[in-house]
């Protein structure tokens, strides 16, 4: 017996299904029932239930690419804040190998870097490295901060969303899986891009988002909507693992799960499907109220 539908919004402690269902991430089994441990959307594939959280802190995973800020320079390593309950370290040998150099001449406190998580130890401390394309210190630009759970939406299917923004604003954009985004371009375009990114974050679960963002961009930059034929017939509504970024761990996890359930024929479930379905449900571009409008509205009663 199952008590929820795919894509339902659920809350912690909510009973999702009986014993014959498998408990995936964001859920737990208790007393023969599969229950949610988070506030999020149900992802149902065959007999496996997961809950995709609306909000969650970034926990470092091996292979992730992140944006970090140098918090301290020590004798043989840098302390790096990676927007997480866990700080990272960048060992000097990851940067210079065996060479001896003064660390603060290379990266100093306050510098912002694009890094890869090389390893994560048992207490989740992340060892960081700079091997890979585009890794290293950012010069100029701005940092935009979003919920890490919204990163896939910002990137879009095969990078559709982020590429559209890049093309239209002529900004360079780098997205860290820890929810930090670096944007560099013309000063006004940087600010526009920042606002667009925050809009995507706030409306991550609404339908028609790609076109909405596209219209906003065109209006802001050209002063008019994009030509009709440019409107994509098929809305891309996907939180697929983006190709631009390495979500290795995630993919491995997916594969493992696929094996476990021995149901490889089926497509992998992901937020993509959840959203796809939501879109169908809310045909009329009916946004799940998600952000600013309802925020901060608490009213102290007058007497």
């Amino acid at each position: 017996m199952i008590y929820v539908e795919n894509k339902d919004l659920v809350i912690p402690g909510q009973i999702l299904a009986d014993d014959e269902y498998y408990s995936g991430r964001g859920t737990f089994k208790d007393n023969g029932k599969v229950c949610s441990s988070l506030m999020g959307l149900v992802s149902l594939r065959n007999k496996k239930i997961r809950v995709i959280p609306l909000k969650s802190k970034y926990v470092p995973k091996k292979g992730d690419v992140v944006i970090g800020k140098i918090n301290d320079v020590r004798f043989s390593m840098w302390d790096v804040n990676i927007n997480s309950p866990y700080s990272g370290i960048l060992p000097a040998f990851e940067v210079f190998g065996r060479e001896k150099k003064e660390l603060n001449k290379v990266f100093d406190v306050g510098d912002v870097l694009f890094l890869r998580v090389v390893d994560v130890d048992e207490i989740k401390k992340a060892k960081l490295g700079l091997k890979g394309r585009g890794m290293g210190k950012f010069k100029g630009g701005i940092i935009v901060d979003i919920a890490p759970t919204k990163v896939p939406r910002l990137i879009g299917k095969k990078g559709s969303m982020i590429n559209m923004i890049k093309d239209k604003t002529n900004c360079k954009i780098v997205v860290g899986q820890n929810g930090l985004v670096w944007v560099k371009g013309d000063e006004d375009m940087e600010q526009l891009t920042k606002n667009i990114i925050h809009l995507i974050e706030a409306e991550a679960h609404t339908s028609g988002l790609t076109n909405k963002i596209k219209n906003k961009l065109y209006l802001a930059i050209d002063g008019e909507l994009p030509p009709e034929e440019n409107q994509e017939a098929e809305e891309e509504f996907v939180l697929e693992k983006p190709k631009l970024q390495n979500f290795k761990e995630e993919l491995e996890q997916e594969e493992k799960e696929a094996e476990e359930s021995k149901e490889e024929k089926e497509d992998k479930p992901n937020i993509a499907e959840v959203i796809e379905e939501l879109k169908r449900k809310n045909k009329k571009d009916n946004p799940l109220s998600y952000g600013e409008s309802s925020k901060n509205s608490f009213i102290l009663n007058n007497k």
Binding site: L9, C35, L288
Partner: protein, 231 residues
């Protein structure tokens, strides 16, 4: 017999004061909630899981929580001196104890969650209201939990067992039994009792308080759903 009794504020014995809960009311906090019940106004902010430098508090296998219950100087009739006192320290401790059983922090070893409960205005039953609001703020922060803990009190006034004591009833009543529980399993995570009760009265009080918790629990869910969906 008791169902006929009308209380000083016109409620029935098993009637809660009006409650309003709102999730996500602060910008800076990772999670937040605002709650009004009767004349109580409670604001809760949650930060974390986050890194902490208070090493002695951290645990290698799980995250830990720290709770601070604080009353605003202007929250009571006679101005309260700012800062912690013995009462607020005790409430902070039992609130953390009440919330802890629901939290699933194994994925956040050596991290800390801070829960700040501010009583903006007090009118009896602030500890239960604080727990109820804190749970909503924890969910809003995205903290994994087995259940949403909820608090409610029952007590004895004029020899009757009644639900959700107001300030006047608390002062003039004979007993107060605040509880918190996890509604899915019915497990109790906070229990205090002060005053005089027979075994039978106590059993009645706890049943009534648990029923009150279930009602408040529905309002917690409503507040969260309202914040994050169109329904």
């Amino acid at each position: 017999m008791m169902s006929e009794m009308i209380r000083e504020d016109g409620r029935k014995f098993d009637e809660l004061r009006p409650i309003k809960i709102e999730a996500g009311v602060l910008e800076r906090a990772d999670g937040s909630a605002y709650l009004e019940v009767g004349g109580n106004k409670i604001l809760v902010a949650v930060y974390g899981p986050r890194e902490s430098y208070i090493r002695r508090l951290l645990e290698p296998n799980t995250g830990v929580i720290r709770c601070r219950y604080n009353m605003a100087p202007f929250s009571v009739d006679d101005r309260k001196r700012p800062g912690p006192d013995r009462r607020s320290s005790e409430i902070s401790k039992i609130t953390a104890d009440a919330l802890r059983p629901a939290l699933m922090l194994e994925n956040y070893p050596r991290s800390m969650i801070d829960i700040y409960i501010e009583v903006i205005e007090a009118e009896g039953g602030t500890r239960c209201a604080g727990i109820t609001a804190a749970s909503v703020a924890l969910v809003d922060a995205g903290v994994p939990m087995k259940d949403i803990v909820v608090g409610c009190a029952a007590g004895k006034v004029n020899d009757e067992i009644v639900l959700d004591l107001s300030e006047v009833e608390d002062k003039e009543g004979q007993a107060d039994v605040p509880i918190a529980m996890m509604p899915r399993t019915g497990e109790i995570t906070l229990l205090q009792s002060d005053g005089d009760l027979t075994e039978e009265e106590f059993a009645k009080a706890i049943d009534l308080a648990m029923e009150g918790c279930r009602q408040v629990s529905e309002l917690q869910k409503e507040a969260l759903m309202k914040k994050y969906s169109t329904e």
